[in-house]
């Protein structure tokens, strides 16, 4: 009898599992007259749709564009590639997703298209830098950039009597002044581990040696030998941050900041629409993270947020390239930048919103560095390492031990994933 009972339970569970498997649906095939545009950024679908409608109208409906952007889009895109079901067009970030797609040979080489000349050189260079062989081949067209630095509440800054800090010393002094004025200086949201990255991403390009990326890849240098100062400065910020930052999520932090409960957030322009959702009247601006005491060296961290790529295997390549040429026209790029609150990479477009006044000129003048984590091998989970670093600090670990341990972890994990 016992065996029968077990048998029945096992059989039942097997059936349920099998039923679940069979309901996994297959993906649909795109039809000949239409282009499927896959965006890894859910936020830009509405804007792209408007541009697509305009394009379809211009073409008298001969080209139809379907835009999709599922949850966790990079993962979905990767798994679609496993099935060789590649979208005709993709809007992706200039990060490891691009590197992988380009090196896997599924993207069309767009280097000889005329519209490449309309793109700002420093962003094209950023794209070349993340090509696996760093060759000057454009497998995508950089379209929009983001900016990361320090977001600050102007009203609270005025209240504490401080202005934008230009140097590291001013920056740390401002923390104390804010504290003295009874204002929480910074809202850190480390419950979402990725928010541990922005301070690192701002400091690393300025403070690390010039050839770090290449040397590290070749094993000629280590994080331990070069990144100590970054973590020392990181600890200074952690020391001046108050509250339960390890248990605060990005969404809660945005809400607190928008409600004026903290003066600064170390994050990017993408967070600003989140603030205005909660408090439309917030007087927010952004400044470059002052990593050093030399204002000329400090940069805004800016990377390619959206780049358009065309599938090399798509039967509608020509139509997709036509759409690309349409998108790159200055008036359309301007439309995108305005709606999406992004920084333009297309010549002739500009971001004029007052909430990013503090970094606008730096970005337009090319005083930018790319996100250093775009150069790390995929699978190198720096966010987790830094979250552990912050947790160690919170638990009262000795600073020296913490820094040594964290840098050792960086090197160890980098080596573990550099093989692939």
């Amino acid at each position: 009898m016992n065996r029968k009972v077990i048998g029945k339970i096992v059989a039942g569970l097997t059936l349920i599992t099998a039923a679940a498997w069979t309901t996994v649906s297959c993906s649909k095939k795109s039809n000949i007259a239409s282009i499927e545009l896959f965006s890894t950024k859910g936020e830009n679908v509405a804007t792209l749709q408007k541009l697509a409608d305009k394009f379809t109208a211009e073409k008298n409906g001969s080209i139809k564009i379907t835009i999709i952007s599922p949850q966790d889009a990079s993962t979905v895109l990767r798994s679609r590639l496993t099935k060789n079901d590649i979208p005709d067009m993709m809007a992706i970030g200039g990060d490891s997703t691009y590197t992988e797609l380009a090196s896997a040979g599924v993207l069309e080489n767009l280097s000889n298209e005329p519209f490449i000349a309309d793109i700002q050189e420093n962003y094209l260079q950023m794209l070349y830098d993340v090509n696996k062989d760093t060759s000057k081949t454009a497998y995508a067209v950089p379209y929009a950039a983001n900016g990361s630095g320090v977001l600050y509440n102007k009203t609270l800054f005025r209240k504490a009597g401080i202005s934008i800090p230009k140097t590291w010393d001013d920056f740390t002094a401002d923390f104390d002044k804010l504290q003295k004025a009874g204002i929480k200086p910074v809202e850190l949201t480390f419950m979402d581990a990725w928010t541990c990255l922005p301070p690192w991403n701002s400091m690393a390009p300025v403070l690390q040696p010039k050839n770090f990326t290449d040397d590290r890849r070749a094993g000629k240098t280590t994080f331990a030998a070069t990144h100590r100062e970054i973590l020392e400065k990181y600890l200074v910020i952690l020391g001046k941050a108050s509250g339960d930052y390890m248990g605060t999520s990005y969404n809660d932090g945005n809400k607190n900041f928008a409600e004026g409960k903290a003066a600064m957030m170390i994050n990017g322009n993408w967070a600003i629409p989140e603030f205005t959702k909660v408090n439309p009247d917030i007087d927010v601006d952004m400044f470059a993270f002052p990593s050093t005491n030399n204002p000329a060296e400090n940069t805004v961290t800016s990377g390619i947020d959206v780049a358009f790529a065309v599938s090399a295997a798509s039967p509608n390549k020509k139509a997709a390239e036509e759409f690309l040429a349409f998108l790159v026209k200055p008036e359309n790029a301007q439309f995108y930048v305005d709606e999406q609150f992004a920084f333009p990479t297309v010549k002739g477009a500009a971001q004029n919103n007052k909430t990013v006044n503090g970094v606008k000129d730096d970005i337009a003048a090319g005083k930018v560095s790319n996100f250093p984590d775009h150069y790390y091998p995929s699978g190198f989970d720096l966010a987790s390492i830094l979250s552990q670093f912050a947790l160690n600090y919170k638990n009262g670990m000795d600073n020296e031990t913490n820094i040594t341990q964290t840098l050792a972890a960086c090197d160890k994990q980098y080596d573990a994933v550099n093989v692939q």
């Binding site: 016992n2 077990i6 096992v10 590639l81 390890m246 605060t248 999520s249």
Partner: protein, 292 residues
């Protein structure tokens, strides 16, 4: 039932089982075999690849984050299995006794099983980060003031949610076991003077031993592959302190483009889970035989 193996099987059985076999093979066995094959390559999940032999497997043993995720997974699975089984057995005994609102209470305790794990996790994430710290501040209890998911004790938060949800199904299985016991046996026991814990140890528990075995096997398997609740609560953080093997597989395999490498990891996990399950079933079988 004699001569089962020599007698001709009625074709209706074949008709019943065949679609299942085909579906199972297509949607379960084939991807599984593919996964094993790709674990010997450097496939990123798409594009060009080549066979690299055992390189992935050797790398798995050297990878510190894989080692720590195995340690965490075992710690988590062991604690959760013990807690879930002890609590569900207690619950089942209570719900099987003569109490008021028995059916209503049974329904209440089953509700967590009906809810999706991700939904539960998001609700608990909110409770841990917003409600409990408020309570802590109101009562001035230092330990409750911080969000537990942001501390080195984050795994306890996950454990609470997991145990709360898993108890439902395990209680159900224990309940069905308890109900299958013939009341006559209890009567006989009462005449012989067996009461309370003694009766539980000598009669109730042996009678439901097969249910205990299946519960243990299911629990260990489920908890070794814990995924949903962790993605919902901490995404494996802070640091990688709550990263189970499944979470690591997903993060690095799909998001990190290490499909082949993590396939090797998955094959290892499969082998480990299989060995543990077989050992458990074997031990359970022996125990059951003893009581039969």
């Amino acid at each position: 039932m004699k001569n089962t193996y020599t007698s001709k099987v009625h074709p209706v059985y074949w008709i019943m089982i065949l679609p299942m076999v085909v579906l199972f093979f297509l949607f379960h066995t084939t991807p599984f075999l593919q996964g094993i094959f790709y674990s010997f390559t450097d496939w990123k999940g798409y594009g060009i690849w080549k066979v690299v032999g055992l390189r992935n497997y050797l790398q798995v043993f050297k990878d510190p984050s894989i080692q720590s995720s195995y340690l965490f997974t075992f710690k988590f699975a062991l604690t959760a299995t013990i807690l879930v089984n002890v609590l569900s057995l207690l619950l089942a005994c209570a719900l099987n006794s003569k109490i008021y609102f028995k059916n209503f209470l049974r329904a209440v305790y089953f509700i967590p099983y009906i809810l999706g794990t991700l939904i539960i996790s998001y609700v608990f994430r909110f409770i841990f980060s917003n409600i409990i710290p408020d309570i802590g501040r109101a009562l001035d209890i230092q330990a409750l003031k911080v969000n537990i998911l942001g501390t080195e004790h984050a795994w306890l938060g996950i454990l609470i949610v997991t145990v709360w949800q898993s108890c439902a199904f395990n209680t159900l299985i224990y309940l069905s076991g308890l109900q299958s016991i013939n009341p006559d046996i209890y009567e006989a026991a009462a005449i012989d003077g067996a009461e309370g814990l003694y009766r539980f140890a000598k009669i109730t528990f042996p009678a439901i031993a097969p249910f205990f075995t299946i519960n243990l096997v299911l629990c260990v398997r489920n908890f070794l592959m814990a995924f949903d609740q962790i993605m919902g609560l901490t995404s494996g953080g802070p640091g990688i302190s709550t990263t189970t093997i499944s979470v690591l597989l997903y993060k690095r395999g799909f998001q990190g483009g290490q499909f082949a490498y993590q396939s090797a990891n998955a094959v290892m996990l499969f082998v480990i889970v299989m060995i543990i399950s077989l050992v458990q079933l074997k031990l359970g079988e022996n125990k059951e035989k003893k009581y039969e």
